[in-house]
């Protein structure tokens, strides 16, 4: 096991320079985008002196590297600065919203695996039957249907017509588990379907590959039960699928941005969109940095898991 530990530490350390490179890129890119936060705040009524004063107070007149050093010296102390719009501390805003976005992402994750694992398995075991075609069709639809459209459709059918779920808003499952889950059902389904479709297809093809190898037959000859054979096949098929799931978790996080807008969920995605529209540099930097850190963390976890599951890598 020490090999895995060693690998894990290496993998985590290698993420630190990546974060620094990304942070500089964010700070520089945001400022390259046309559109001036001072103009957006003051609108068309402002005169040039006022705009200049506001830019000065925001520190936007400093050279880029000074702005970056100022920003990062705060970040390493856990201070992400203050929003231009309403002056809220960026750290507070992110801490408020991160759990909300994570709960939506976890909901989507659960939904997608709950669909993908049975669908992918049945589809592989019963290749070329009607259940297989049904799973393949679902896979195609899941990838093709845009999230926001599916969200609106689900709202119309299950919230407005049947009245089973609320249309908009959010209640934390920690405050009120039943209500919290009611609010999360439709967003989770909307978010989970695309990932479910991709994982279903991947699992199906990996399992077919394993089934066509020699070891399932030799296991059967030894008199091992069909269930046990399937378990072996699934375990081996899952190694590459884990990588796909890891990448999909990144897309899930991205997907929450659209989902939060459609379902009026006050999460990080909404914070990000508002910050982009209003050129709220401090908020935008903080949110993108946290998204990046989550992305890097998920990737690291996937790599470490892959290393752990794959003995071939450990004996080098």
């Amino acid at each position: 096991m020490t090999q895995v530990h060693e690998y894990a530490i290496k993998r985590i350390l290698s993420a630190i320079p990546v974060l620094f490179i990304v942070s500089f890129t964010i700070v520089a890119l945001i400022r390259m985008v046309p559109g001036d936060p001072a103009v957006i705040m003051l609108g068309t009524d402002a005169d040039p002196e006022q705009l200049a004063a506001l830019r000065e107070s925001m520190g936007l007149n400093q050279p880029l590297y000074i702005q970056y050093i100022d920003y990062m010296s705060g970040v390493v102390r856990g201070d992400f600065g203050y929003s231009y719009m309403g002056g809220q501390s960026v750290t507070d805003a992110i801490l408020q919203r991160l759990p909300i976005t994570i709960s939506v992402a976890i909901g989507g994750f659960i939904v997608s695996l709950a669909i993908a694992i049975p669908a992918g398995t049945i589809s592989a075991v019963k290749q070329d039957t009607s259940s297989d075609y049904a799973a393949l069709t679902f896979g195609l639809l899941g990838v093709s249907i845009p999230n926001f459209w599916l969200g609106i459709m689900l709202l119309m059918v299950f919230a407005v017509w049947f009245g089973w779920f609320p249309v908009t808003g959010y209640v934390s499952p920690l405050d009120d588990p039943i209500e919290g889950i009611r609010y999360l059902v439709l967003p989770s389904i909307t978010l989970g379907t695309a990932m479910a479709a991709i994982v279903t297809r991947m699992l199906r093809s990996e399992m077919l590959e394993e089934i066509r190898m020699e070891y399932p037959d030799s296991l059967r000859m030894k008199g091992v039960s069909e269930m046990t054979v399937l378990r072996h096949v699934m375990k081996n098929a899952f190694i590459p699928v884990i990588t796909v799931i890891g990448m999909q978790v990144g897309y899930l996080l991205g997907g929450t941005i659209v989902i939060e807008e459609v379902f009026s969920i006050p999460g990080m995605g909404r914070l990000l969109l508002d910050a982009i529209y209003s050129r709220d540099y401090m908020m935008l930097q903080g949110v993108v940095l946290v998204y990046t850190a989550m992305f890097i963390a998920v990737n690291a976890i996937v790599d470490i898991t892959y290393f752990y599951l794959n003995p071939k890598l450990q004996d080098r």
Partner: protein, 534 residues
Amino acid sequence: MGERRKFLKLAGVVGASALAGCMGGDDDEDDGNGTPDLGDDNGNGDDEPDEVTEGGTLRVGYEADLTGLDPHNISSVVSWNAIYNICETLITFDDGEAVGRLADDYDVDGTTYTFHLKEGVQFHDGYGEMTADDVVYSFERMMDEEASTSPDLLATVEDVRAVDEYEVEVELQETFGPFLQYLARVHWVIVPEDAVEEQGGNIDDFQEPVGTGPFAFEEYTPDNSLVMSAFDDYHVEDAPHVDEVELIITPDPDSRVLALQNDDLDFAREIPGRHAESLQNDDDTKVALSEATGWAMIHINCSEPPWDDPAVRRAAAHVIDRDAVIDAALFGFGSAGVQPFPEGNVWNYDLDNERWQDLEEAQRILEEAGNPLEGETLEIKVTSEYSIQEAMGEIIQANFAEIGVDVELNNQEWGTHLNDFVESNFGALSFSVPYKVDPDRHYYGFLVEDGYNKYNDEQPDADRVRELLELGRDELDEDERLDIYAELEGLVQEHVPWVSVAHTDDINGLRANVYGFEEWTLPYDRYWTMWVDE
């Protein structure tokens, strides 16, 4: 300029006028603006119960999150709306007339305005009576260089002083015609010093606003909701009606409509035109219009070839099919207009040189000028942020094609678009602004020397245009100002520094049991007139 005393009627709760959304009602005169007929079951329909229901909660669906709540530093319509129901200005405007809110009346003597405050007005949360000192404190806070979100007025105010407990003098540097209209803006609300200091004192610190308004601030959860509760000691009789107002942030317009239909909202702001008819036909919901709340135009940079040629601009004004724009972007909810103010407004003039669509005239003008657009491709900047701004570009592109002129549209994100406008980085650019009470705000920033439209000295009548801009600010007599802006608009029709296109309506969706929504000129909702019949 002799001393004049103005008595203000109080802007309390006017009996529900049948103004709001009166479309196709029995007293409806066809105004010829083509607004779709949604029947007479509107926000203030004839079926209103005799008895006003007191109590309950009004849930309002908002199109965007608030951008801060410190009244002296707010920069978005949604924040304005919230503050306008919590805090109050000295005066406001109704039907183009100044009416009192915290001031009963005022005197004008040249550059000195004396406001006589209403007595016995209480602040929320036990902060005591509102007096002249609070007005002085609030104005000085508003005029702090760091803070100002009401810049044009700052330049004109010299001094604010308390004469006694209920009398405040505001001294201007020079006479300023639009002063009262500016003062009616939400930025000039009165707040108690103690409350501000307790929250830190600096601009932007005052995020739990305290005022004298009909509702007191309770709680704000970012991107989710803002709750305010009825203020028991409100100084106006019989207001508000509901116990609580909850502003629920629902950014997606389709989700807002669904939430209204699902009874998760009582009132949904900013409904897209495509949903108006279905809301009207549903027994549980209805529609109330706020007519002509926005002005849409194509701004022209008059120093940028080929637009620096007045003939090109005149042709453009005759090219665009304004009704097609309203149909495409707003499903007919708006009216075509060639002036900044809509027909029927006091600032809209009978002019004989108005430029409506006339393709032959456009061609004639271009030929007479030696076909300056031959072989040219015009670039027009548009944005998808507002459907009206996108539609203006698409329609004028099609119209120009009819007379053989190529137009290229450059669609950009809103922040970039706004920035380009403010920096005059465009040849032609579609834009829209909320209704302004005073014409000064529809002309000055665009036409002043080096203003957004770069109407510079080589342009015809540039000197006279700028003279009129200043006269409009210096003159206090209302009739004189009407004449000044009539002449100015005549020059605008003549030389076309922008192509005025449409006056847009705001569509509000209401549950069928919500009453008391009243249309008015300022771009703020008034929740204290509304009630829910449970």
